[in-house]
């Protein structure tokens, strides 16, 4: 026969935490399943958000690669007067190489320039004949300068103008490239800003939808919550399932988004490669896709948890 004792209730509080944890997980999962249509809509919005984010990351990476690719083609050419001694050129080259912002300097002698020019116009009779009529080499020797990054070109330009070899310099070919560099920077920055804006908007919508889903779950279970409260459930026991629910939203959405992402990237990369004209094979590598999936997972969990915390704070006052 069951005997009601008076002073045994204290032992209840010392029950194993794992039992409570399992129950919190179970009720979190149950909440999802009972509202599966709501869950579906919440997860769909989250999946879209994550895919927009991933697309942004891919586009951003593409823009950076194009910039890097163009950057490699950008340089400053310093032309010298004809008849400058080879030794002097070597001296200038050594001096320029010591400038901090300069990555590399390549010397093109007048003879090399002529050879290049001839090679380029091989078969063009007019050019060949005109050159033959000239007794001297009409081309100037030059130094081709490459910086570590695009921002350094204006600095290098100024340094060259203030250099002690300035009187020897006939022309610095830089202005043409600056426009290209500036345009490229603007486009890259624009893509980034637009992508961030789009991600923020979708993120906000995802939070709102999940928040609303959890709000409905809380309302539909208010009787149960009320009784839990009255029979002595701790706050974490009552709130836990809703937190678990939000977390599962994020988790499921991240998994679905990753499943969509993998074929999308393997499909798109060869086509993009043709368009951009440089290799993108590392973008479709498993490591890169895995990296994107991890980002999606973290963002998904963060959004899910954030919306459940907001809903709990607003609608689950204990």
């Amino acid at each position: 026969m069951y005997v009601i004792k008076r002073k045994v209730s204290i032992s209840l509080a010392n029950m194993p935490a794992s039992t409570n944890f399992k129950r919190i997980l179970k009720y979190g999962y149950l909440g999802l399943w009972r509202n599966r249509w709501l869950t579906l809509s919440a997860i769909s919005v989250m999946v879209i958000t994550l895919l927009v984010l991933s697309t942004l990351l891919v586009i951003n990476s593409l823009a950076e690669r194009s910039a890097a690719n163009l950057q490699d083609r950008v340089d400053i050419s310093v032309f010298f007067d004809q008849g400058i001694e080879q030794a002097k050129l070597e001296e200038v080259k050594a001096e320029f190489e010591s400038i901090e912002e300069i990555k590399a300097v390549r010397l093109i002698t007048a003879e090399e320039a002529l050879a290049d020019f001839k090679a380029k116009h091989e078969g063009d009779d007019l050019v060949t004949k005109s050159l033959e009529e000239l007794e001297e080499n009409p081309l100037q020797p030059s130094l081709v300068i490459i910086a570590h990054n695009l921002d350094q070109y204006p600095i290098i330009f100024q340094k060259l103008q203030r250099s002690r070899f300035e009187p020897l310099i006939a022309k610095i070919n830089y202005e043409d490239n600056r426009n290209l560099i500036d345009t490229l920077k603007r486009v890259t920055g624009g893509i980034q800003n637009f992508g961030i804006l789009l991600t923020v908007i979708f993120g906000a919508v995802a939070i709102l939808v999940m928040f609303n889903t959890l709000r409905l779950t809380i309302f539909s279970r208010r009787e149960e919550i009320e009784i839990m409260r009255l029979v002595g459930a701790s706050n974490s026991y009552i709130r836990g399932p809703f937190l678990v629910e939000g977390l599962i939203y994020g988790l499921l959405a991240a998994i679905i988004a990753s499943v969509v992402l993998y074929p999308a990237i393997t499909f798109a990369v060869p086509k993009l490669q043709v368009f951009f004209g440089f290799s993108l094979s590392d973008m479709s590598s498993l490591a890169n896709i895995l990296k994107l999936s991890v980002i999606q997972l973290l963002v998904g969990i963060a959004l899910g948890t954030l919306s459940s915390i907001l809903a709990i704070k607003k609608y689950l006052q204990i």
């Binding site: 009601i4 008076r6 935490a17 039992t19 009255l230 029979v231």
Partner: protein
């Protein structure tokens, strides 16, 4: 066991007095009937024991500890030591009698084996062993209140509070519920019964505390509920 010391409580910024200078002590194993008309302050007083409300001034000591100092987030611990039965019963309609009782115990982190072992015993005690798998809609009013009592007992509380438990029941069912409470009291659980049913109180023949306008006007051993 529980002491109320100079309890005062008012609403509407002091314009409505709910409880005024209430002092009394509940001893272990007692069966106390708290009587008075609607609005006399019975429910206010009871809700202070489970900390749904706090008094404006005064102390409530349970085993020497002043519970008015307990933080809101720690109330649950106190609620596991006190069982409450409500007039409106508050059972979950979608769960069976067994599940309703088990639900209350789960909350405290009790392992499933213990629940499966203890809950049928508690339902046996309240006379519902045969109806363990029935849903509330399949039970009579009296039976539902028994489930609620079983749920309140599941935590093995030191004190069982019954707030108008017979309010929605006919005389026969009401008296059966009171007999059940008396039986539980015999096993050692202290009981605090709030009611305005004078015939029931007069049959119980235990301590009666009468509230009027928020103050205690009578506190008698083996008392009666006199309408004044």
């Amino acid at each position: 066991m529980i002491k109320f010391l100079n309890i005062n409580k008012s609403y509407n910024q002091g314009r409505t007095t709910a409880i005024k200078d209430v002092n009394f002590e509940i001893h272990p194993g007692e069966f106390i009937s708290l009587v008075g008309r609607s609005g006399a302050g019975k429910s206010t007083l009871l809700s202070m024991i489970t900390l749904e409300q706090k008094p404006d001034t005064g102390k409530i000591l349970i085993e020497g500890q002043d519970i008015t100092k307990v933080k809101t987030e720690d109330r649950y611990y106190l609620r596991r030591k006190i069982g409450v039965v409500y007039q409106d019963i508050k059972l979950l309609q979608g769960r069976t009698a067994f599940e309703n009782v088990a639900f209350a115990v789960e909350v405290g982190g009790v392992p499933n084996e213990v629940i499966d072992r203890d809950v049928p015993k508690i339902l046996d005690l309240v006379g519902l062993r045969e109806k363990m798998s029935s849903f509330p809609s399949e039970l009579s009013g009296g039976e539902r209140q028994r489930v609620a009592i079983a749920r309140a007992l599941a935590h093995k509380p030191v004190l069982l509070i019954a707030d108008e438990p017979t309010g929605n029941l006919d005389d026969v069912n009401a008296w059966e519920i009171i007999q059940l409470l008396l039986k539980i009291n015999e096993f050692g659980t202290t009981i605090l019964l709030a009611t305005h049913a004078s015939d029931i109180v007069n049959k119980i023949k235990k301590r009666v505390i009468t509230l009027e306008g928020g103050t205690i006007v009578r506190d008698q051993e083996k008392g009666k509920y006199k309408l004044s």
